[in-house]
């Protein structure tokens, strides 16, 4: 359990360091169960920081959005660190970005949070569709979420609101952090990502039908890309015009091309935070694609993304004994 007092204290201390520019964390939102990213530039700003099972958002996207404005001649770039509040998966995203040289470890201060899983905002919004005022949620020791709406206390079994990816999470604790808030969570043997297994049992035709149904709905808003901490190319291939890999028209063919391309570009890189799926407005089960690729990568090449900053990127490593039976 994360004590907000302790979190605020750590953020206050971190942001007061001379070498830290600001700290990114969570604050309470203004609507329903939505939380907001918070940026603390001073100890005063830290007071609004909080952490609860609602804090699903992966904040690892922010350091890469840092704008680098042109400097005047003679002016030197400021090399200050950015503090970030990270859960297990968020920390793995940072590790993966460091591995890909998008950041250096020196660029960030990681405030680690042992995570018991986050609430899927879609599931909770469905449960309380009319809630317009912000409500915080707590987790008790009985695997239940507790929340109070209009003086009525609700107890909801954790399983009903928990984000699907969290059910198969192998890394609740941040593998990389500078400061850890509270005690590390017990590592548990997660259940397999059942949705992939279920899908794999279907015939190819059925699977294709399934994806066709979902891709048909895609509106190509690219929310998945924007929420993903590892979609940080300066210009996405989907936006290139010369050559134009994917046409802008929204139809099944182009939608399929986009979603499949993204899944491939995340091979050996996706760290299963589930942000793409949670942010998708048309409920495409994107983590089924990502988890499928993750499983293939793990089984064939014994590779797991986002665990070691020194490891070679998956797509850049080659071993003579790599399996080749998929080439036929």
């Amino acid at each position: 359990m994360v004590e907000n007092k302790e979190l605020i204290k750590v953020v206050e201390e971190t942001v007061s360091r001379d070498d830290v520019k600001y700290v990114i964390g969570y604050k309470r939102g203004t609507y329903g169960f939505q939380i907001k990213p918070a940026f603390a530039y001073s100890a005063e700003d830290a007071k609004e920081f909080f952490y609860s099972p609602l804090c699903s958002k992966n904040l690892a996207t922010y350091p890469l959005l840092e704008e680098k404005l042109p400097l005047r001649r003679g002016e030197e770039a400021e090399h200050k660190k950015i503090g970030i509040v990270v859960k297990g998966c968020d920390s793995r995203a940072i590790i993966q970005i460091i591995q890909e040289k998008g950041l250096e470890k020196e660029d960030v201060v990681l405030i680690g949070i042992p995570c018991k899983g986050v609430i899927d905002p879609k599931k909770i919004a469905k449960r309380f569709p009319k809630q317009s005022k912000f409500v915080d949620v707590e987790e008790n020791n009985n695997d239940e979420y507790i929340l109070e709406i209009g003086g009525t206390s609700h107890k909801i079994p954790k399983d009903e609101l928990l984000s699907d990816v969290c059910k198969s999470c192998e890394y609740p604790n941040p593998p990389l952090y500078d400061i850890l808030i509270g005690e590390a969570e017990e590592e548990f043997q997660p259940e397999h990502f059942n949705r992939v297994d279920e899908l794999e049992e279907k015939t190819i035709e059925k699977r294709w039908e399934y994806w066709e149904k979902h891709f048909q709905n895609c509106i190509r808003c690219y929310a998945c890309r924007e929420a993903c901490p590892l979609c940080y190319c300066k210009t996405c291939m989907a936006d290139l015009l010369e050559p134009q890999w994917i046409r802008r028209s929204v139809n099944l063919s182009e939608n399929t091309a986009w979603n499949v391309m993204r899944a491939f570009h995340l091979a050996g890189r996706c760290i299963s935070c589930g942000e793409c799926e949670r942010s998708c407005p048309v409920n495409i089960p994107l983590m089924e694609l990502n988890k499928f690729v993750e499983k293939e990568v793990k089984e064939m090449f014994d590779y797991t993304a986002g665990l070691d900053t020194e490891e070679k990127p998956f797509l850049g490593s080659f071993r003579p004994d790599d399996p080749e039976d998929f080439i036929s």
Partner: protein, 655 residues
């Protein structure tokens, strides 16, 4: 834009399966096509003239030739374009022979396939840009890594051609494995007698800088301009002062196994590898000497008249600039102790082929009398086991080590010549005698010298009293064979040496399944590697006998000289190009590049240090791996840009 299309009949090679007239007519409708023609042999001189005339009269600026593989005539047609003042890279060749007419029977389908390939090529050609061939200077020096017979030959050849050559050898003397051999097949001339004159030549050649006890630790740069760091390990004896008087040896209290004699005789901690060693100098084995650190003993230093011993000698790093590198890092024998059933290492009278070389050698531990290691008796029955470790894909080396049949035959023959009443028995799977006079040599051993050959594999070897029980099968009669021998000699297979593996990884050379360095082409470029400017000689690419090793060394030297003799090298224009605005500096391309041609460097972008990929065009081979690896298309392969490939695919996808 005006595109000229030329369809080749290639006699009936293409015309029999592709309706060339129809193809030419279809091509006239393709975008930008100004002229479309068919000719019997476009590569012939009149065919070339046809293209030249059209370029001049019709002002063509892109040429598409539908003929055989570009591997055949791309240079021919590029020269045609250059002759007419066009850039050689605005040429596209469509392979309608190997990829269409030779692999299909149905003429109408063949024609349709050729037409869609041709359309793709025309669309691709319309997106082509002239490319530039850059030039780089050349350092006229060479580096040879490894001082075995191949390295020696390559160094001598290059030095004789006038190139300054650095020969780096890891051990204290050059000569390699050949120096340990007693006699060479099939002529039975003395190995050391034919090798040592070459070793002496290396030593006194004014163009050769011999660095023994040295290792290459770092290689930077590219063809024509390599920068090499060599670590020279200390010998603790000043070669220029040492007079080779041998006074130091008797006083040394440390006794070690002598590597040169395969451990069958002793040496001291201060020693000379063997009398003919080059450079001729004593050295101290730092692992066993009591004087290096801490200084407990200095007996050798005390007796050394010319004061040649220096315990304080330190390793030094020598830097060299060279234009070409020859890798001649050789082989090592397969560790036959891995073959448990043959008892090597546990039964003293089971020895390896190289052990036998020393035992039979007049300069060896037994002064040329064949004695077995356990009790020094002269063995009366000797079993030679072929393929010890070789041709055993399930457990040991999968390949044939090429020389074992011949050297085991040589050993049997040598044994029979020295022990007239002895019996020599060879167990073989097949006898492979492919080489000049090799078959005759084998026949002579079997017929004139009564060496017994049994076709079959030895299954197990046991110690049985003071004899060795050898169990095997005779696969010709189908019977099991059991016999008692006094000595068993295992014809050990060859595997890449540790040095070969180290250098391959240092230079980023690709290696095959078995760890041997892979040639650029197994048949047509047998001494080139995938890295330009790096060549390979001797057994580093696979098992070879001495004549093969020597000729590959001369081949490698002559290929290297082809670079060293130039003042400037032209680089292919089809190299990778980075779009700095798209590149995010992740380095995936650098990891994917098999030629180490990409580095990630920081550039100054409005005051911010920005990491982007940088392609060294001299190293880039244009393979496109980087372009494929890049996640957001920030690398393009010039001559094969994404847009061009997409146009090609688009045409192929049309109904």
């Amino acid at each position: 834009m005006k595109i000229g299309v030329y369809v080749c009949e290639c006699g009936s090679n293409i015309a029999s399966t592709v309706d060339v007239e129809d193809l030419v007519e279809q091509a006239k409708e393709f975008p930008y096509v100004e002229v479309s023609r068919v000719y019997k042999y476009v590569c012939s001189d009149p065919g070339q003239v046809l293209i030249k005339q059209d370029i001049e009269e019709k002002q063509l600026d892109r040429i598409v030739v539908a003929a055989c593989s570009p591997r055949m005539h791309e240079p021919t047609f590029r020269a045609v374009l250059e002759d007419m003042g066009l850039n050689p890279y605005v040429l596209e060749i469509v392979n309608i022979r190997e990829q269409v007419s030779w692999v299909h029977d149905d003429k109408s389908k063949g024609t349709a396939k050729a037409a869609s390939l041709l359309k793709g090529a025309v669309l691709r050609a319309s997106l082509m840009h002239p490319l530039e061939r850059k030039k780089v200077g050349v350092t006229h020096n060479a580096l040879v890594i490894g001082g075995g017979i191949a390295g020696i030959q390559a160094s001598l050849d290059l030095a004789d051609m006038g190139f300054d050559t650095t020969l780096v050898e890891k051990s204290a003397t050059i000569g390699g494995k050949m120096s340990q051999l007693d006699k060479t097949f099939p002529t039975l001339d003395c190995s050391q007698c034919i090798l040592s004159p070459k070793m002496v030549d290396v030593n006194r050649h004014p163009n050769i800088d011999l660095l023994a006890l040295s290792e290459v630790v770092e290689v930077d740069g590219y063809v024509g301009n390599f920068k090499v760091k060599i670590k020279k390990n200390p010998s603790y004896v000043l070669a220029d002062k040492c007079t080779l008087c041998d006074d130091c040896v008797p006083v040394c209290p440390v006794i070690e196994h002598d590597e040169y004699n395969q451990g069958f005789s002793p040496r001291r901690a201060i020693y000379i590898p063997y009398p003919q060693a080059v450079p001729a100098s004593y050295l101290i084995d730092p692992n066993s000497c009591l004087g290096i650190d801490p200084l407990i003993c200095s007996k050798c230093k005390d007796v050394c008249g010319p004061e040649a011993i220096d315990f304080d000698m330190k390793p030094e790093i020598i830097e060299k600039e060279v234009g070409a590198i020859i890798v001649a890092t050789g082989y090592e024998p397969y560790p036959i102790e891995n073959i448990g059933e043959y008892g090597y290492g546990t039964i003293p009278d089971v020895i390896s082929g190289l052990d036998f070389e020393r035992i039979v050698s007049a300069s060896g531990p037994t002064d040329g009398t064949i004695r077995r290691p356990s009790d020094g008796k002269i063995p009366k029955t000797v079993v030679f086991v072929h393929c010890a470790g070789s041709r055993d894909p399930s457990k040991h080396l999968p390949y044939c080590s090429k020389v074992c049949c011949m050297y085991a035959t040589k050993h049997a023959l040598q044994y029979k010549h020295l022990v007239h009443d002895g019996t020599a028995i060879n167990f073989f799977i097949d006898i492979r005698t492919a080489g000049k006079d090799y078959e005759e040599f084998y026949q002579r051993a079997a017929e004139e010298d009564q060496v017994i050959y049994i076709r079959g594999k030895v299954s197990e070897v046991f110690q049985d009293g003071d004899k060795i029980l050898v169990k095997g099968a005779d696969t010709l009669t189908g019977e099991t064979v059991e016999l008692h021998a006094d000595l068993v000699v295992l014809a050990t297979g060859l595997m890449p040496s540790a040095g070969t593996k180290e250098i391959a990884s240092l230079l980023n050379l690709s290696v095959g399944m078995n760890g041997f360095i892979r040639e650029a082409h197994p048949k047509l470029k047998p001494v080139d590697t995938a890295i330009s400017g790096v060549f390979v000689a001797g057994t580093a690419t696979g098992p070879k006998d001495i004549p093969d090793a020597v000729s590959s060394a001369s081949g490698a030297a002559s290929r290297a000289a082809g670079i060293l003799a130039q003042d400037e090298l032209e680089i292919e224009g089809t190299v990778a190009q980075v779009d700095e605005d798209l590149c995010r500096g992740c380095g995936l391309c650098a990891e994917a590049c098999p030629y180490s041609a990409i580095e990630i460097n920081a550039i100054n972008k409005y005051g911010h240090a920005l990491r982007v990929a940088f392609v060294n065009e001299a190293l880039c081979k244009g393979c496109g791996s980087c372009a494929a690896a890049c996640l957001n298309g920030a690398i393009n392969q010039l001559g094969y840009t994404d847009s061009q490939i997409l146009a090609l695919i688009g045409a192929l996808g049309e109904e």
